[in-house]
């Protein structure tokens, strides 16, 4: 994420709300229109990508493409982006009940607004069934008169939004598998709260779009939209590409922050962390290794063929199962003392709920009742969080609450840190 300054190399905007990686000029400083005089309505647009995130619990590392989505459904996944959007809308309406919400009929928004107890104003658009990226882009193009655009999805959805060149600031409700772009709030509820705060100031003329990085509400920042090539991701290579920038409310603390990969960390540190994990492993205990380069180093040290992006289960130096789905994992932890070994998403602080949705609420509850968590991160990664806590967001507040408190984070061989971890929802709605 960068602050509100034109960067000639990258931030050239064709529209006030967005800027593309190439081409065009614009006025990135101007953000939302001030509301009508007299503190009148704050209008939010809502677009839900109903299939976002569907591939996560199924171990598919993404949900882009109809084939993957069908496969996910076949593996027993159920769509949840609509539900997460509803959480955001509920939080928004609780703080700003007079908000007008403009959205698309059906699962692309209407259902979520209604589920949150709101009254949607529908665009004249007929999305396909199932909906496609083109529907998202069309919806963005149709929303020319809103103060803020909320969308629920992941990095792929953010790209679709970018393609629609939004004319106002944008905020993402995290609902995808890959949520690495800087335009997302840390949780659905945080998205709602941030939107409401932004709205409070959007009604005040002149308070928006000020080029500031102080984090004052109402002002905006440019946030990067990045995405991974899902095929490369599935085959174990992580290579995010920058697609452009979106303007987002400047409530910086509530945005995820762009993911920092672990390649910048000192060489050898993943090996040192892995050595410490191996030293702490006890016989008879099952270890659920989450995705990531650091957990992969644990597998390598044990001489096991674990996966970079999947969730694997090891015990007593053996690979019990590789790249498991949520359903399979639940069976594997049942009746076994189990400990989850998880890495931290750099820049964001997520330990649960991003990239490792296979470790869903039910699995987490079992793990917290037995072996608990071993969290892995370099000191550099923890330092990069700027004092913000580690976050859990399995989608089930009850499960997330089980991990709340302080957790030991292994930072090297015989080195650790003690660090705060909170449910993402709680962190930003308290």
């Amino acid at each position: 994420m960068t602050t509100d300054r034109p960067d000639p190399s990258r931030t050239a905007a064709g529209h006030p709300g967005s800027s593309r990686a190439a081409g065009g000029t614009g006025d990135p400083g101007r953000a939302a229109r001030p509301g009508p005089p007299g503190g009148a309505a704050f209008t939010v647009g809502l677009i839900v990508n109903p299939v976002a995130g569907i591939g996560g619990p199924a171990g598919l590392k993404g949900s882009d493409g109809a084939g993957v989505q069908l496969e996910a459904l076949a593996r027993g996944a159920s769509p949840r982006a609509g539900e997460r959007a509803a959480l955001a809308v509920r939080a928004l309406l609780a703080r700003r009940p007079d908000t007008r919400i403009v959205t698309v009929a059906g699962p692309m928004g209407e259902d979520s607004v209604r589920a949150a107890g709101g009254v949607p104003e529908l665009l004249r658009l007929a999305p396909g069934d199932p909906s496609s990226p083109r529907d998202t882009t069309a919806a963005v193009e149709a929303m020319r008169d809103v103060d803020l655009l909320l969308f629920a999805g992941g990095d792929g959805t953010a790209r679709d939004v970018l393609d629609g060149s939004p004319s106002c600031p944008v905020l993402g409700v995290p609902a995808g598998v890959k949520v690495y772009s800087g335009c997302f709030a840390v949780s659905p509820a945080a998205a709602g709260t941030t939107a409401a705060e932004f709205g409070r100031d959007a009604g005040r003329a002149g308070s928006t779009g000020s080029p500031t990085s102080t984090g004052g509400t109402g002002s905006t920042l440019a946030a990067e939209v990045v995405d991974l090539d899902e095929d490369a991701y599935r085959s174990g290579r992580v290579s995010p590409l920058l697609y452009g920038t979106l303007r987002v409310p400047a409530a910086r603390a509530r945005l995820s922050g762009r993911k920092v990969g672990s390649s910048a960390a000192a060489p050898g540190s993943a090996e040192a962390i892995a050595r410490e994990v191996a030293a702490r492993m006890r016989p008879g205990v099952r270890y659920v290794l989450g995705p990531g380069a650091t957990t992969m180093a644990v597998g390598r040290l044990l001489g096991l063929d674990t996966t970079l992006l999947g969730v694997d289960v090891v015990q007593d130096g053996e690979l019990v199962a590789a790249d498991v789905t949520e359903r399979r994992l639940l069976g594997l932890v049942e009746g076994h003392e189990t400990c989850a070994v998880l890495s931290v998403i750099g820049g964001q602080g997520f330990v649960l709920g991003r990239g490792n949705q296979q470790i869903g609420p039910a699995v987490l509850k079992k793990i917290m009742a037995s072996g608990g968590l071993l969290v892995l991160a370099t000191q550099q990664k923890l330092a990069g969080l700027g004092g913000r806590p580690l976050l859990a967001d399995t989608g089930d507040p009850e499960a997330d609450a089980l991990v709340a408190g302080h957790v030991s984070v292994i930072t090297g061989h015989r080195e650790s840190a003690v660090y705060r971890i909170r449910p993402a929802t709680e962190e930003f709605t308290a």
Binding site: T3, R5, S213, E415
Partner: protein
């Protein structure tokens, strides 16, 4: 007089001085002294000794004479003068840029004392009776530092801050072992902004290290400490104020939590320059502490040593102090090497005597009131400089202005705007004759720089330093390439730092260089 009133040279063709100094560092392309050696050259013809030759046993006799450089006096002198001109230090620069290092003025008169033959010609193996004077200085300096820290006893043997920290860890280990808890207490807790020597010494001594990260106020998270302490806790090793210059207001609670768990609390007081006469380690309940005499007490840092550290301990830990200790029976000073619980020697003999003498002289010159004035002036200077720095567009002080004697600032905003990094700003600042430092690794504060003005500098010095940074920040905005291409006025352009991380290539001595690169 033909000029304007008061400006006798106004008609001469002399351009007015620009706002910033037009500094240029000397560039001599000076070879290493060994490269200048020529067989047979000499600086002095040493007369024959006039005493009979002694037969040395083969085990200590050199097979060949040492390969010392052979040079004339003039060439030796010129070599070192040139090197000194290629240096940036307190004696010619405004050395406020090496935060955490307390680069204050070391009064020259103190160098007179240590070059006096009464000190310079002492031999470490002289009998106690012939060195009563220097033993008295050791003893009295120990008492002063005990008073300043509130500790019971202080060892002056360590030759650096890190050596003092290591002495403290060694004592912590010996203390727990003496109580039968050595095996069980295998963890040391430290903080991210404590000096990394604390974690490093603990690890070297065999401990597992737990680091507390800063919370949103920039102080170590006390709830994390609560979660970290337990029956395995050997000690908390903490700096305060930390390297950010923020004084931890809950430090006594930190100490109490560790004590409740049966651990010891060890205070890294290398950053004590803002605390002299204001508060003491013992008042917060600490069991051990250390000072760097080469910071707070004005002795030279000596380019990484030998400097001088001082380890202070409570009465309960005094039996473990390194030794021998200097004792006083009311009329005579003597060395006590018969201390069965002692952790042993941190270095040969008593300590770095010239620095002990300098620190003693410095404290004696100031007195108690003077020490407190040092602290107050250092804090005032720091707060003035902070006021100036924070007026520079793009500079910030994460966690606010509540600082004692130093501040870890951030160029994050400037860097995001211009792509210029803190290291590059520091290199460019050297073009104006000042030194600048970023931070220990890993960087917690993004694009960090750490300034510590101490009590030595004048308001004009601080204004000049701030003006240089302001100028460089402005250059970064106008012409980032200019800053990134710096330095232009320096002794060397860039050096390749990669050899620092490569044991195959690094060469701390000429002998190592010859072996690795010339053979």
């Amino acid at each position: 007089m033909s000029g304007h009133a008061g400006e006798p040279f106004a008609e001469l063709p002399v351009a007015p001085k620009p706002r910033l100094r037009r500094f240029h560092q000397a560039r001599w392309d000076e070879p290493i002294i060994f490269e200048q050696s020529r067989p047979g050259r000499r600086g002095i013809a040493v007369p024959a000794p006039g005493v009979p030759a002694v037969e040395l046993p083969d085990t200590v006799r050199r097979a060949e004479p040492p390969r010392l450089p052979e040079m004339s006096q003039l060439h030796v002198l010129r070599h070192y003068v040139r090197l000194s001109q290629e240096n940036l230090g307190v004696d010619q620069a405004i050395a406020v840029g090496q935060g955490t290092c307390t680069m204050k003025y070391s009064p020259k008169v103190n160098d007179r004392f240590v070059t006096d033959p009464k000190v310079a010609e002492l031999h470490p193996l002289q009998p106690d009776d012939t060195v009563q004077g220097v033993l008295e200085i050791y003893w009295r300096l120990e008492r002063m530092l005990a008073e300043i820290s509130g500790m019971h006893r202080v060892s002056l043997q360590p030759a650096s801050g890190s050596a003092a920290i290591y002495a403290n860890v060694a004592m912590i280990r010996a203390y727990h072992a003496s109580r039968g808890e050595g095996e069980r207490r295998d963890q040391v807790i430290t903080t991210m902004f404590s000096h990394p020597s604390n974690a490093a010494c603990a690890k070297t001594a065999g401990y597992e290290v737990i680091t507390l990260m800063p919370d949103e106020n920039g102080c170590p998270d006390i709830e994390a400490l609560r979660a970290a302490v337990g029956p395995r806790t050997a000690a908390l090793m903490i700096t305060n104020p930390e390297d950010t210059g923020i004084f931890n207001p809950r430090i006594a609670e930190f100490v109490a939590l560790v004590h409740e768990a049966g651990g010891l609390a060890c205070y890294d007081q290398a950053n004590a320059n803002g605390l002299l006469g204001v508060t003491r380690a013992a008042d917060a309940g600490f069991d051990l502490c250390h000072f760097n005499l080469h910071k707070t007490f004005s002795t030279p840092h000596a380019c990484g040593g030998p400097a001088a550290g001082a380890s202070g301990v409570s009465e309960a830990l005094a039996p473990f102090l390194p030794g021998p200790t200097v004792e006083f029976d009311g009329s005579r000073y003597h060395l006590d090497a018969d201390r069965p619980l002692s952790v042993g020697k941190m270095r040969p003999f008593l300590g770095v005597t010239p620095n002990v003498v300098r620190a003693y002289a410095w404290i004696m010159a100031l007195g108690a009131a003077g020490l407190r004035e040092v602290a107050e002036t250092a804090v005032l200077n720091n707060n003035y400089l902070m006021h100036r720095i924070l007026q520079i567009k793009g500079a910030s002080a994460p966690w606010g202005r509540n600082r004692l004697e130093q501040v870890r600032y951030s160029w994050q905003e400037l860097s995001e705007e211009t792509g210029v990094h803190s290291e590059e700003i520091g290199v460019r600042a050297a073009d104006f004759g000042v030194h600048y430092w970023t931070s220990h690794h890993p960087y917690v504060v993004p694009e960090p720089f750490t300034l510590e003005p101490t009590e030595s500098y004048s308001k004009e010095d601080l204004d000049e330093y701030a003006a240089i940074l302001e100028h460089v920040a402005d250059e970064a905005r106008r012409d980032p390439g200019l800053v990134k291409g710096a330095p232009y006025n320096q002794t060397v352009h860039r050096i390749d730092p990669s050899s620092l991380d490569d044991p195959e290539r690094w060469s701390p001595t000429w002998r190592a260089y010859t072996r690795k690169h010339l053979s």
